[in-house]
């Protein structure tokens, strides 16, 4: 892991056109290069280059890939992994062949769905009759019991079947249960076969229940058919899983090649390409290209320092274990190239904040347990969709749980009870106003701790910013900016001043011989910022009018001073929320504890404490998580994280399908 973003180098290579395909495949397999268009050549040379022309447009390849993916998803088939073997065995692209295969599958699926539709319509038809019978809406039904005097009963059954209903023609007298609205049609059909109503009263009485049993049996049969067809649709796809996987691999690799080649430029016999590679991979990439082209290539490297910082892609190299926090950083923005990687600092700050707000050994253990179980369940079922407790949350809980447990040990809290001796001080006792010995005796002392913690975090942010500015050689900003040294000194003076005032019991302001001169020097430096910048610009040839400089100096001074005093003050006080959340957590648990005590018996007491713990874990856990994130984003990141970077997105066989 590096403290800073990964060092990058830009490769520009010329290879023989006949070997460019092999180079592309080798680079895809390596997967460490982000391709860029060649644009740095002089215009007369650029005009001699031709652009890549695709045999099959990339959009067509993407459409085909998406189509295969849809069918694979429908069949529950996971996307295959792409590896070097898949590249080696890559067969020529046969879009028409693929289309025919997919059309065939699609057609057979559609025919299954059509069968399902027909069965569903039959079910709907019979279920309407059943519902009327069940709801005693006999007025909508037409029940007939009788026999035919001529013609074949099978023929009659066929005719009645077209109308729809339940018919029992296996024994005499026959039973017909249809809808009254179809009576005329039924009568018409029956008349042709000399239907005569039965006079058997027993048969008449039992006819409806017989018809209902028959209807139930029919619908059950149909439902089984529907399920069978539903499974058959999936089986049809599964039966072609090998073929679909092969098509997907082929199309995906061609799509990636096409994507890479879209950055290529060509002369009559050669291919030119360029891209960013992490410094430690550059030797490998060079040897791969040389090996594939048997040395018939020209490779040039450009160091990132020679290119404007904002054009260099950025990759953070945090250890795998810190991935959840890296995502937190990426959600905010991408750091500038060459600046400090915020991930480890974010991890430490976030966990400290969470531990202070949600300090409980038992509840922390529950969080850890939820995280571990979730991770295990998702690991067992990789295709499972993320639920409310997502994969990301699970991996975060694995950190938050132990952090909360450490907090619990420090403050002696376990499931809201003071079950264990506090290593630092008893938080719950302080919140409840019980007499406590030691440095922390009341809520104000707790607020004081969090303010001190805030000062440490803000100073850390400022120091990280100074390191970034030194690395970027922005010395004017380093000295004069509100987040630079002058801002840091003013912040220190402010802290010293406030501390002295509080220490005197809010009676008098502190005084020291260094205070006023230092304050004036700092203010003078802030005032000098715009003129100094203007002077530097003037040396570079950019002249600004004196009036404009004067106006900017005054405005900038006022804004900067206001921002330093009010901004840093509010940033510091903002950390009181850490104490607030911690106090709320302890108070809520205490409230549940008191409610539980009021019941006077064991079982309700246990139930209330369980309910209380669940509520606190969910609600307070969520609040503490959100507030920690907020403090990181607004109070910490704003000090040193410019977020002007552009994420490094190398193209490889394992690149996300949507990334390009």
């Amino acid at each position: 892991m590096s403290m800073f973003t990964r060092r990058m180098r830009r490769l520009t290579a010329v290879v023989m056109e006949s070997e460019s395909d092999s180079v592309v495949k080798a680079l895809l397999e390596k997967g460490v290069m982000e391709f860029v268009h060649i644009g740095a050549l002089p215009a007369d040379k650029m005009s001699k280059l031709s652009e890549h022309s695709a045999a099959v447009p990339k959009a067509a390849l993407t459409d085909m890939r998406v189509r295969v993916e849809t069918l694979m998803k429908e069949g529950g088939i996971a996307l295959p992994e792409l590896d070097g073997k898949a590249v080696e065995e890559l067969s020529p692209l046969d879009m028409d062949g693929f289309r025919r295969t997919l059309d065939r599958l699609s057609l057979s699926l559609q025919s299954v769905r059509d069968d399902q539709r027909r069965i569903n319509q039959e079910i709907n038809s019979i279920e309407e009759i059943m519902r009327y019978a069940e709801e005693s809406k006999d007025e909508y039904l037409d029940l007939r019991v009788g026999i035919t005097t001529h013609g074949s009963s099978d023929d009659l059954l066929e005719r009645l079947g077209k109308i729809g209903g339940v018919f029992i023609f296996s024994s005499k007298p026959f039973v017909s249960l249809t809808l009254r609205r179809d009576s005329a049609r039924v009568t018409d059909a029956m008349d042709k076969f000399g239907w005569t109503e039965s006079t058997d009263s027993d048969a008449q009485k039992s006819a409806l229940s017989m018809a209902m049993s028959e209807a139930k049996a029919i619908t059950e049969g149909y439902r089984a058919d529907l399920d069978r067809l539903s499974a058959a649709a999936k089986e049809k796809i599964l039966a072609m899983s090998g073929e679909l996987s092969d098509i997907w691999k082929n199309v995906r690799i061609h799509e990636l090649c096409e994507h890479v080649e879209s950055f290529f430029s060509y002369t009559r016999n050669t291919t030119l390409f360029s891209g960013w590679v992490p410094e430690e991979e550059s030797a490998d990439v060079e040897s791969i290209i040389s090996h594939v082209t048997s040395g018939r290539c020209i490779i040039e490297w450009t160091e990132a320092d020679e290119i404007p910082r904002e054009e260099v892609p950025v990759e953070m190299t945090s250890p795998k274990i810190l991935r959840p926090f890296e995502r937190m950083v990426s959600n905010y923005s991408t750091p500038e190239y060459g600046s400090i990687n915020p991930t480890p600092f974010t991890a430490v700050a976030y966990l400290c904040m969470f531990a202070l707000m949600f300090a409980d050994l038992g509840q922390g253990f529950i969080l850890l347990l939820v995280g571990l179980i979730g991770k295990w369940l998702y690991g067992k079922n990789p295709t499972k969709k993320d639920g409310i407790i997502s994969r990301y949350l699970c991996s975060l809980l694995i950190f938050l749980g132990p952090a909360s447990m450490v907090g619990g040990l420090l403050f002696g809290s376990c499931f809201g009870f003071s079950l264990i001796p506090a290593l630092w001080f008893n938080f719950d006792a302080v919140v409840e106003g019980e007499p406590v010995q030691g440095l922390i005796q009341d809520i104000y002392d707790i607020l004081g701790i969090t303010i001190k913690f805030g000062i440490v975090v803000i100073y850390l942010g400022l120091i990280l910013n100074w390191i970034n500015l030194v690395r970027k050689r922005r010395f004017v900003e380093l000295v004069f900016d509100k987040n630079g040294i002058v801002g840091g000194i003013l912040y220190g003076l402010g802290i010293w001043f406030a501390w002295g005032y509080v220490a005197s019991g809010y009676k008098e302001f502190p005084s020291a011989p260094f205070f006023a001169p230092l304050l004036l020097v700092c203010l003078a430096l802030i005032l000098a910022k715009v003129p100094v910048e203007a002077a530097i610009e003037r040396r570079k040839g950019k002249k600004e009018g004196i009036g404009h400089v004067l106006m900017s100096t005054v405005m900038d001074f006022l804004v900067e001073v206001l921002e330093i005093f009010s901004g840093l003050l509010s940033n510091t006080l903002s950390f009181m929320r850490v104490a607030g959340l911690g106090i709320a957590h302890a108070s809520l648990m205490s409230a549940f504890y008191q409610i539980a005590d009021m019941t006077g018996s064991t079982i309700p007491r246990i139930l209330i404490m369980i309910l209380g713990n669940v509520l606190v874990i969910v609600l307070e856990g969520l609040s503490a998580g959100i507030q920690s994130l907020r403090l990181n984003y607004y109070e910490f990141f704003t000090k040193y994280f410019t977020g002007h970077g552009m994420a490094f997105e190398p193209v490889g066989l394992r690149s996300r399908a949507s990334a390009d």
Partner: protein, 365 residues
């Protein structure tokens, strides 16, 4: 309760949901899918995933559409629960529009069976039979063998009055069109009353949407029916929705009782909507090679496109404007129904094996 407390929660909730709505990529992929099965499979993992489940189980697009209708009703009911009484009852008027369409579908089935003597068999299963706003006995509607029986199904609902001015004979001779228009008018009357019951900013927001919407619908009807159906002034009066600026102006000026109602009405349209009048006039000036029907069709397409665009603009404006009015709720339903409409049109296009181009044309993409 202040407007802020009335709308703060629903505003935040609906805006979050609007943020999660499908982007055009999903619709594009659905349109490109070569079959219905593949098109509907794209809904996997989206908030319309329940439709895919229904399709996988039944293979029946009409069953999917019924599920969609159920989801829409559920959506209205859910949001209704978040609102205070006055805007909630307005939402119930909007929900009544879904009921109106459902009632029309049920009556069409009855008409098909009893008047046209066509078998409706399983088709009644696709009618939503639970109560939407009013207690209607849909089983009775579908199974009625006489007109009084049909009327009985709507007893105690506002539909009873509308239906009682028709008879089996009048429907048999004139078709369902007059009845459907009368039911529509009933709903527009309810809409107007609902808007009037809203207070302050809510009323303003609802008026800005529905008054102009109704005007454009009236222009559309005038264009469509005056050419295609050659309606006389008395029929024209029945067709025009009794709401909005154009209807009010027509009433005031006695346009419909004049010798040339169409020219008076055109004047009213020109005054209120000069842009659309100009575009229609442009079509008429430049369409020498077109037949009257072609010309009329082009005008209808133009007005519909204008109506769609205007609606989009009006709802976008609402989303950007005061968050504590019913505007955000109306915009949310507009976007939801638009999304549902798009999905419905694509799936239907796929079912009838229409080309990508024709589906895009229908959707105005």
């Amino acid at each position: 309760m202040s407007r802020v407390s009335d709308y703060a929660f629903v505003n935040a909730k609906l805006r979050a949901r609007i943020g999660l709505m499908h982007d055009s990529t999903l619709f594009d992929e659905m349109i490109k899918a070569p079959s219905l099965t593949e098109a509907i499979a794209k809904l996997d993992g989206t908030w319309h995933g329940d439709l895919l489940d229904v399709y996988r189980k039944t293979g029946d697009l009409q069953q999917v559409e019924l599920q969609m209708l159920e989801d829409e009703i559920g959506l209205y009911r859910e949001v209704e629960g978040y609102l205070p009484s006055s805007p909630a009852s307005f939402l119930s008027v909007l929900l009544e529009k879904i009921e109106v369409d459902n009632v029309k579908n049920a009556i069409r089935l009855w008409y098909s069976d009893v008047i046209r003597r066509h078998m409706i068999s399983y088709r009644s299963a696709y009618i939503y039979k639970r109560t939407i706003v009013h207690a209607i006995d849909y089983d009775k509607v579908i199974n009625a063998v006489s007109y009084p029986e049909l009327l009985g199904a709507f007893k105690g609902t506002p539909y009873e009055d509308v239906l009682s001015s028709f008879s089996m004979e009048s429907l048999a001779s004139d078709g369902l069109f007059p009845l459907e228009i009368a039911i529509d008018h009933m709903w527009f009357r309810h809409l107007k009353e609902g808007i009037e019951k809203l207070s302050g900013a809510d009323r303003k927001a609802a008026e800005s949407i529905y008054y102009v919407d109704v005007d454009l619908k009236n222009i559309l009807r005038l264009t469509r029916y005056s050419y295609s159906y050659h309606l006389d002034p008395s029929h024209l009066r029945k067709v025009i929705i009794p709401m909005g600026y154009i209807a009010e102006e027509a009433e005031k000026t006695g346009a419909l009782s004049s010798d040339d109602p169409m020219s008076v009405l055109s004047g009213i349209v020109r005054r209120h909507y000069p842009q659309i009048s100009e575009e229609i006039a442009h079509i008429r000036r430049t369409a020498d090679d077109l037949t009257t029907v072609d010309e009329n069709n082009r005008e209808i397409v133009l007005i519909e496109a204008y109506l769609g665009e205007r609606r989009k603009r009006a709802y976008s404006k609402m989303l950007l404007g005061d968050p504590f009015t019913i505007g955000v709720v109306l915009a949310y339903f507009f976007l939801c129904l638009q999304e549902d409409g798009t999905i419905r049109a694509i799936l239907s296009g796929k079912y009838y094996e229409r080309s990508e181009e024709s589906i895009r044309e229908v959707l105005g993409l």
